[in-house]
């Protein structure tokens, strides 16, 4: 990122960029504080799911005209360009994208006599059971009481044929049932998933304590330390096929910015892969998110990227659920925790969450 900025400043001597980087855990806290104290930056990279929240509140500049005039926008996958819009207005420039997929330990698979990664929910359940032995869990994922838990649950919900507005129906119950079977019936996934974030899951997989996990490309540093052979496969398909969540950041411009045009120009330059592909790929761990990069071998900065790019084609944004997404997210992770900790049945928990979510949808 630093070298991208240096390159831009070299080509645009009248622009100075002061960069502040904030850890993921503190990010929304710090940005909210910045918004509250009137020091929201000219350009910020924010989680694409938070765009409706900030946009609905007037914190972000309306970039509809600039985005529509930008020839690159049509190159992005529909889910990606949709993630920077609210209604018919645009509030951001797509930047770095990622998604999640299934990572598996090849040595464990060989030992259990499994020749290929699971391609359906049924395979996932049987394989996880076969792979569980002693200290090693068959399947690991994050079910934490935060958006990390929701980020991991949503693809399962979509694969079941369900969606957030209809939580409470039989599809959402089937999604909960799948995870409940592995955690509480087969014990092929440990109950610890309730307190594991995605980095904890990556560490467990990297140390060989999990034969399969669901995680994003950012798990790579923990996995690269491993001494075993591993690979990545798409999410196993549910009744409604495979599906994955769209993660990553969009570049937005502060609503109070005195340099909207310069800020937009900079954001569009940063996002354009023509300027610095190296930095966007290896440097930032981005998964191809455009029609012209998704099957371009030059973007495969790591063998796993090919699979992630394939999964990216099925990715769905979370911001579509409106400005109260974070409250909805709490309801979803609570629902999952109630089921996996044995406090409620999938039917009870799904119906309760559905009632909580309904009034939070859509309106601002």
């Amino acid at each position: 990122m630093a070298s991208l900025i240096k390159n831009y400043e070299a080509g645009h001597p009248n622009v100075t960029i002061n960069r502040t980087s904030i850890g993921f855990a503190d990010f929304t806290t710090k940005l909210t504080q910045a918004a509250a104290t009137g020091t929201f930056p000219d350009v910020a990279a924010i989680d694409n799911a938070d765009i409706p929240l900030y946009a609905g509140q007037g914190t972000l500049a309306d970039l509809t005209a600039q985005d529509k005039a930008w020839p690159e926008l049509s190159q992005y996958l529909p889910a990606v360009s949709r993630s920077v819009s609210v209604g018919d207005k645009y509030y951001g420039v797509p930047f770095r994208s990622n998604t999640s997929a299934l990572w598996y330990n090849k040595a464990d698979f060989q030992q259990a006599g499994i020749t290929s990664p699971p391609s359906t929910w049924a395979d996932l359940v049987t394989d996880a059971k076969k792979l569980t032995s002693g200290k090693r869990a068959g399947f690991c994922f994050s079910a934490a009481a935060t958006d990390e838990g929701t980020f991991t649950f949503l693809p399962v919900l979509w694969q079941s044929g369900g969606d957030v507005p209809s939580i409470g129906d039989q599809h959402s119950q089937a999604a909960l049932n799948l995870l409940n079977t592995m955690v509480n019936v087969d014990h092929s996934a440990p109950r610890s998933v309730l307190q594991w974030g995605q980095s904890d899951v990556a560490d467990q997989f990297g140390t060989g304590l999990c034969a399969m996990m669901v995680n994003g490309p950012y798990a790579l540093p923990s996995v690269q330390k491993a001494s075993f052979q591993w690979a990545v496969a798409p999410w196993p398909a549910g009744p409604s096929g495979t599906a994955a969540p769209l993660g990553g950041e969009a570049l937005v411009v502060g609503g109070n910015s005195a340099h909207v045009d310069a800020a937009v120009a900079f954001a569009q330059w940063l996002a354009d892969p023509a300027n610095d592909r190296q930095q966007l790929t290896n440097g930032l761990g981005s998964i191809p998110n455009r029609k012209d990069t998704i099957s371009n071998p030059a973007w495969d900065w790591q063998p796993m990227v090919k699979v992630f790019a394939q999964q990216m084609a099925t990715a769905r944004p979370r911001g579509v659920y409106g400005p109260q997404y974070q409250q909805i997210s709490t309801a979803i992770s609570t629902m999952e925790q109630q089921v996996l900790s044995g406090q409620a049945s999938p039917v009870q928990a799904a119906q309760k969450a559905g009632a909580t979510i309904k009034p939070l949808l859509g309106h601002s």
């Binding site: 929304t28 806290t29 909210t32 918004a35 509250a36 009137g38 929201f40 929240l53 900030y54 509140q57 007037g58 914190t59 200290k135 869990a137 934490a144 009481a145 935060t146 958006d147 440990p190 109950r191 610890s192 998933v193 309730l194 307190q195 467990q204 140390t207 304590l209 609503g255 109070n256 974070q326 409250q327 997210s329 709490t330 609570t334 925790q337 109630q338 996996l340 900790s341 044995g342 406090q343 409620a344």
Partner: protein
């Protein structure tokens, strides 16, 4: 000295000015402290109270035009089942862990007040635990207690005390009790050091005299140690209650209030409301209720201090 004469001539004026100046001086000296307190304590407190009566959103925070909504935020907080549950957890968490902490702290204080080889070294070791940042302690306990890969389960199963792994922090009926145990671990050094200081102020003659009068160990404790220790004990209790009631980092790092709210306490609920759900007014209302409890405890603490001073 020749300077003396002119001063005496205008003597009257000088004394008056001197008096005026001496009346202003002390206030000037406390001014930095007052500015500091006003800026860092009173301003945020007032702001938080104002916030709790407004419907504040991300944008009205910037523009400062949030509409007044009366007690709606308090009503929203108090009628939320999650609040009622978290308030109950906060009370249980604070009272149970402080009670255990005081019991253990008192026992250790009495033990280490005795003179034996290594007493000073050993009691200093307790302070190491106290000096480690809570973030580190919480993370270490999270690893130790992990049901899948934690050391606690490994040790228990190696000793054949466990056939199935216990998910200490993922089990709704265990999460809060386990956090209480960790909180006790964190708090015992503080109570021990405070009570030890109280125990060492007891004049040794009193013990000698009571021993000569034929008092046994229990009688010496109830008639000599306890009456001397009581004010310290009261102060330590209040301070521990304050520290425990406002605990946030331990719970947030270890369980984030989970599973499904089973270990949610008021500070974590308020943090979640403000920083992950952006419900500023509701979060402020919860924090003001927490503040009210802490304020009452703090007044109780000051009152017990004053009473102690008056007795001496």
């Amino acid at each position: 000295m020749s300077v003396a004469t002119p001063v005496r001539i205008t003597g009257n004026a000088v004394t008056v000015r001197k008096q005026r100046r001496s009346a202003a001086w002390p206030y000037l000296f406390v001014l930095p402290a007052v500015v500091f307190l006003a800026g860092l304590l009173i301003y945020p407190l007032v702001l938080n109270i104002v916030l709790s009566f407004q419907d504040t959103t991300v944008s009205s925070l910037i523009r400062g035009n949030a509409p007044w909504v009366g007690v709606a935020n308090y009503r929203a907080a108090l009628t939320d089942p999650a609040f009622v549950q978290a308030a109950w957890h906060s009370v249980v968490f604070s009272i149970v862990s402080v009670a255990i902490q005081l019991g253990l702290g008192l026992g250790l204080a009495l033990f280490y007040s005795g003179r034996f080889i290594g007493a000073v070294t050993m009691r200093s070791l307790y302070l190491i635990g106290y000096a480690i940042p809570i973030v580190v302690t919480a993370q270490v306990f999270r690893w130790l207690l992990d049901g899948q890969s934690g050391l606690v389960n490994s040790a228990l199963s190696a000793l054949h005390l466990q056939s199935q792994p216990v998910y200490w922090l993922s089990d709704p009926s265990l999460a809060l009790p386990v956090l209480i145990v960790v909180q006790v671990w964190l708090g015992v050094p503080f109570t021990m050091v405070n009570l030890l200081a109280g125990v060492t102020t007891v004049p040794p003659e009193l013990y000698e005299a009571s021993t000569i009068d034929g008092a046994g160990a229990w009688r010496r404790f109830t008639s000599v140690t306890w009456p001397w220790l009581r004010p310290t004990f009261a102060a330590t209790t209040t301070l521990s209650l304050i520290f425990t009631f406002k605990t946030f980092d331990l719970v947030w790092i270890a369980t984030q209030g989970g599973p499904a709210g089973a270990s949610e306490i008021l500070p974590t609920l308020a943090y979640r409301s403000v920083f992950t759900e952006f419900l500023f007014g509701k979060g402020a209302a919860i924090l003001n209720l927490v503040f009210a409890v802490l304020f009452v405890l703090a007044v109780g603490y000051l009152w017990s201090l004053r009473r102690e001073e008056r007795r001496r």
